[in-house]
Symmetry: D2
């Protein structure tokens, strides 16, 4: 299923080395401001180039094929296309013979009977997250629109702040790289790491190895009442979308796994104000699957990049035995560095769908 959402519905398509990557977004209300340049900041954040990211450079300018006219959405579905450039024709048949450890080569081959597109991972490539980022840009435009304010107000859920741009302020950053916690100071400026974890990166680069990381996402100014029981709890929807991002191994909300070792008296969040503010936020801003007015907070664990420069071993289907494999090409040493904007986009897209599902 390459579609997600009920009322803000995204459908992704594309392959790493095919014609391009794209997304169709259905359900966007008419009259939301949207310009091509609105996509640039988030696309730049996802982009490679910094230390620890792949040297493959792509322009990644979106083409808005439909649903937008004169700087606003029309009510019809948006289609957004990113043409692939800078693809390097090469022989990927090797990975059918010798599936790369940690990649989808083997499973995609079995599932799709070797008809799958193996070039650069095909539809399993991290490049498909471009579509998520584009959807996230549109979702945020909606979340920060007057439309959102009026919709919430119609449901008796108006926020205190007058400024729509404050609503659903989604922000994610790395909080751990290669097992090293990042201080608040270190978190911004990820593109120029000058600190402890930068050394860890250098070490991994030198070894031809790779690193993982943890991203924390906070959504501020969330009205009380977002989320649809029983199955479309805020956590259910966010985790569904987040685990679509390649390389995610875990997700936790509020106190997360730590909550399992706490006592009720420690973990419970008593209400301390009529607006829903609680004394702590161990619930991560969610009770019973519904936003409680406190910031939604969750953390996502990313595995280390699967493609590494070191020699690995894997099954060789031609030879009928384990054999050594060397992966060449351009790869992120720590793709987690590029994921905060993707996590934000996932959260924004989910919230846009839940917002439009209010009744």
């Amino acid at each position: 299923m390459n579609a997600f959402g009920k009322n803000f519905r995204v459908s992704v398509f594309g392959e790493s080395h095919g014609a391009g990557i794209g997304v169709v977004i259905d359900g966007v209300p008419a009259g939301i401001d949207l310009l091509p340049e609105d996509f640039i900041p988030d696309l730049l954040r996802r982009k490679s180039g910094a230390k620890g990211t792949t040297p493959r450079k792509e322009e990644d300018m979106p083409e808005l094929l439909s649903g937008v006219m004169a700087g606003h959405t029309t009510g019809a579905p948006l289609a957004i296309l990113f043409r692939n450039g800078n693809t390097r024709p090469s022989d990927y048949s090797l990975f059918k013979e010798m599936p790369r450890p940690g990649h989808a080569d083997f499973v995609a081959g079995v599932k799709w009977h070797d008809f799958n597109d193996p070039r650069g991972g095909g539809h399993f490539s991290g490049r498909v997250t471009l579509a998520l980022v584009a959807a996230g840009v549109v979702a945020r435009k909606l979340l920060h629109s007057d439309y959102a304010v009026e919709l919430l107000s119609g449901h008796g859920m108006e926020m205190l702040q007058a400024d729509p741009s404050m609503l659903f302020s989604v922000s994610a950053s790395l909080v751990e790289v290669g097992g090293i916690p990042l201080s608040e100071v270190e978190r911004p400026g990820v593109t120029d790491p000058s600190l402890l974890w930068s050394e860890k990166l250098d070490e991994a680069i030198a070894e031809g190895d790779s690193l993982g990381g943890i991203v924390e996402c906070t959504v501020g100014n969330v009205p009380v009442g977002i989320g649809e029981p029983f199955f479309d709890s805020v956590e259910s929807m966010i985790s569904h979308m987040v685990f679509s991002i390649p390389g995610v191994r875990g997700i936790e909300f509020g106190d997360g796994f730590r909550a399992a070792g706490m006592k009720g008296s420690e973990h419970n969040d008593p209400l301390v104000s009529p607006s829903g503010v609680t004394s702590g936020n161990g619930a991560g801003g969610i009770n019973g699957g519904i936003s409680n007015g406190n910031p939604i907070v969750f953390r996502v664990a990313f595995k280390p990049t699967s493609s590494i420069g070191m020699t690995q071993h894997t099954w060789n289907f031609s030879a009928g035995k384990i054999a050594s494999l060397d992966i060449r090409g351009r790869h992120d040493v720590c793709f987690a560095l590029r994921t905060p904007v993707i996590v934000e986009s996932a959260a924004a897209t989910v919230l846009a769908d839940l917002l439009l599902s209010l009744r």
Copy 2:
């Protein structure tokens, strides 16, 4: 949204102190063996009664309203109803005035404009998980059926074992209670805790406090190829369903959060056989969102029970200030003790849907 799944679709309904709890299951193939007594073992596992669980006793015998005849499914939707008994009429208006910490009282009141049913948590009660357990029983019947074998075989995904009852063997158990890891030996026989964590329970009971826990679930004998990219990865679907269970704070697959601190050379799972077996299982049996033939392994963190016997504080909407609150009634000290069968049911239900979505 109280429905989940595309081809094996469950719709839940009901409240804790209303007429009952139920589930409609649509998409069940005709000819799956199913008898009322098939539900008993799992319902017993979910039941309360052991130390640390609520003394509220319920018979919880399912009534199969439709879709079953002469011991097999007919192809029409199944409707299963659990009548509520042993409800204690009492005044829940207090919780509108003073929302219980950690509960959905406040958010449900805002979302549903105080029209929500507050009795025993209403639709937010953990009792709704009865519906999940019932769905899980049907899902497992399907997963272990000849139908499943033939469907997989039609997709060229036959398993080595001849016995369908071995397919998708789902099994979950507590691995941590109140922060104390349980050894393999301790995990079974949860109803009779005689060990270290039993003392922890006694302590919490004495204090009028509550505990959380961690459940680990393993699905064995999973064929390669289950899971539907991009959005319906195995992890996405399982986490979506699992976060519907009240009180879940986190989920992780394989190496989980630990993976974020590993190097690629440590975390990658090289294939060591043509059937998909990998050297380790840090990926939790899933690559690119698709099952890789190794056991699917995930862990779920449950928070401590929200309702505790100790005096708490919360906002009093009548008084316009924080006030003290004492919750009476029958509650689990550690509801996590009752959740392994619910987690299994969630996993089985998701796998049934993904199985029927193969193409």
Copy 3:
């Protein structure tokens, strides 16, 4: 798929001679007035008893299992159950051997491998339309609520009339029975036919034969802008639901089939007022799949009842040849007489879903 709708979602279940028929309705906003007695008028209209309808009598009182409290909806899903009574145990195995002409006996047997429930048609029985009528009652409550007025107003689609009970006034009646057109005067009081078509009924009863009919449905006070292009046009949604009703052979909107023989200058409906009123209503109140402010008008053709008293012939699977078949039991001579309320319910349910899908 036994579920319909995106935001007002109905899931039906049940069989003619099983425990009962039911429906789960998800997405109903909290605070809609609803009492058990609200169902009675429509259930009575669907009921048999009049000339030309089956003598099988059923009480058909709905049990509201969930989602309702103190006379209003709670926001949680509604489950409504009609227990079957007055079932006559009998041997339906005959119809596996000799499928009844015009019935689903043969196709259900092939589709569900003879595991289907053949008793009284099982899940294919017209009795399942009880679930539709119940859903229609809830849908109309929503369509006529203050909630609807506020939602429309929030979208800038307020209606002139102040009275919500005037919104979406759905009304259907027979316009043809057994090929005989009914005058306006004849249409009401269907339960006491004293006119030309009454003789036609007498004739069919005497012959042991059956009749069909045509129902016309009009929805008044529809705001401009209902319907979701491209696929969820008003016509698409209504026809989808209407063809779920057993025995429907055709549907047409506005000028319908006659439009195919008209010229554009005859069929076009010029706007004659700023509120959307057109000079004629050949479009049946819909342009481009979206309501245009004029009444939505459509006609539904029902076939004659399949079960007739006359001896018929069909394939005998045991004998391997065509053989004669006599169907005993209680049947409607003209089930179309009972369908106007079902058609109304279908229209109301669709409109409720489209209303909640506005954005």
Copy 4:
């Protein structure tokens, strides 16, 4: 909702005078043969150029953006784009001021608050049916594939014929133009009308008026058992999709509206063979919403083209009164001439979805 289908899911996008029209098709099994040239015959049939169709010429070559490699589908979603060419920049603001009779100008303006794209009808243009035709080509490839044969066989529904290209043979043709029935001989060669209805066309052209028509579609070699009760009957699904095609006013199956005037003894179709063949086909190949093995037959009524050369009257929102309107531009005099391939595509797309929904 611009998406249709559960397991063979099409999402359309695009506007008449925007960048292009496109479709994303999700759920296509891997390994279905598909080449760009496979689209040409159906696109040519939809094309204009014959008498009675618009002189606007477009190349309409599809660009396959994803999901296809080396002449077969990969398992990933297909995205197909038709770039718009030959658009004539012009001022469509007139139609906001003076909505064209029979068009969506007025309703789209109200629904989308004048943010809609009015150019050439925008997303409401008949040009969007290009996306349906493209989806239909892919659907037919699937329906005629070895995959379909194996899937049916796995469900015990094998067809007698060995040749997959015979399965689900969909064929539609005009049976009435401008009220004049076409003989069997006249139906083919629609591009070169030399007969009675050709004169009718000449007359309409001379008058600057337009004509409608009726299309009949037959699907042969349908196995018994296609269709999913209760809501996804074959008729429900086909009518849903067919009413998405702009300009449809009615649909009927088998005896259709005529059935309402028949007696049961006339309309019932007794089985005359164990394979499901019935004596007549008044049911249009469907019982209880499920295919019965006989050809599926339905007729679709198309209205006359809304855009006509004659002077019309409509509300002028600036002037606040009715005023005269002259529509210039290139239009089909009888767009129904171009619809048979669109109706076929709709049927094929629905059948592909129902085929993949078998369980």
